[in-house]
Amino acid sequence: MGQLQPLEGNLAVAEAMRQINPDVVAAYPITPSTEIVQTFANFVADGEVDTNYVAVESEHSAMSACTAAAAAGGRVMNVTSANGLALMWEILYITASFRQPVILTVVNRALSGNINIHCDHSDTMGTRDAGWIQLYSENVQECYDNLIQAVAIGERMDVRLPVMSCLDGFLVSHSYEMLEVEDDEAVREWIGPYKPNEPLLDVENPYTMGPIDLYDYYIEHKYSQWQAYPAAKQAVIEEGKRFGETFGREYGLMETLGLDDADIAVVAMSSAAGTAKDVVDKLRDEGVKAGLLKLRCFRPFPGEEIAAALAGCKAVCVMDRAASFGAGSGPLFHEIAAAMYTGGQTVPINNVIYGLGGRTVKPADIESVYRGLMEIADTGKVEQVCTWLSVRE
């Protein structure tokens, strides 16, 4: 039986890492995820885990060491935020290309500049094409549960891909909430022992990883990688279901609220989706048919499922906690708009960029988004595709 405990997001992540007991952690501390690395280093020092903790001099080295340790045949975890993730960028692609299921917790934080330590999603959105599975957590319970599931998803033999488990910097990482922490043994049994796939330390079967790969084979190798993502999507669904069967909290690609009969709907990720749930309840009390799509799995992107879930709406707003500079709107919006269009949907859709650098998003802010949608639902017209929320103008 699990136990209810009050923990911060960071401590819940460290606790999950202790229970997972990975073979190798090579991490470099950065705000707001420092506390995870620090707490986990204590577990290592106190002998509570068997992990080989590698103290490195940068995030580039951290992810290099993690990728190599995974290739050698170990279960490997890492933690970072913002510019730390940016410094890993080169290696992130290599981890995914090598099909190594490294598990990385990202405590989402704004990328510089200017220097800002607070939450937005510019860091992980910037790595969206790197080939990592990406799960986003709304609250402390979810960041604990998602990290455990990340291990099972990434390590499946038909997937073998690295996974980022993302939580909002400070909003979740430094917020105490009650969560159910499962028993160590139950967690270990649920993820199972690590099964290496062609480990480099298998000296009986030497092979080469990461050789030069030119115009004659590279595109076939990329196409082979491409084939892993439908399986990864299936794995997110199946492991989320299996997690529910064991621990009573079921997960899927997304969570929806009121979408069955919603006229207007917002798409949001992470902690803002939690705020939006309250707004939906309030609007429903007023008789407004409001709905919410909280996207949990951004990679692989469940475009068809999102388009189907939003099909009955009269107006939809996608909320992006990241700007795609020069694109005219946010990254989540681009993909959802494309998924709607290719899925034959003609629902009017707009985009709100919000919360950059930790700007608070209050229920009233999200309510204003819904009020805007009510107008669009009436007229069928989107006057401005992208607006920025709560910017002083």
Partner: protein, 104 residues
């Protein structure tokens, strides 16, 4: 399969772009990379083996401590052997075509 053939399909190769067969790089033909090729005059060669030690592609083939041939399958035509030869026995010629030197 020791080497993936040039027409290997994506699903016929190992995941992750790995090469599960060790030591098969020498079977990879890179003769198409050259735009010039070295021609060596065996008559003037004093067998100092400078060309052998400097060649970055292991393309100077040596047997019994004597240069016997330049390897047309792996020579990149970089010209280093011609530069370092103290007797100027090696000259670079335009074009990638490179006849196999006779194994003497």
């Amino acid at each position: 399969m020791r080497v993936y053939p040039p027409d290997a399909k994506w699903h016929e190769m190992a995941d992750g772009g790995v090469i599960p067969q060790a030591g098969n790089a020498e079977e990879y033909d890179v003769s198409g990379w050259r735009s010039a090729h070295p021609v060596r005059d065996d008559e003037c060669c004093i067998q100092c083996l400078f060309c052998w030690i400097y060649c970055p592609d292991n393309s100077v083939l040596v047997k019994d401590q004597k240069v016997v041939a330049l390897d047309p399958k792996h020579c990149k035509g970089c010209g280093i052997c011609a530069q370092v030869c103290p007797k100027d026995c090696i000259t670079m010629q335009p074009g990638g075509d490179m006849p196999e030197e006779e194994d003497k």
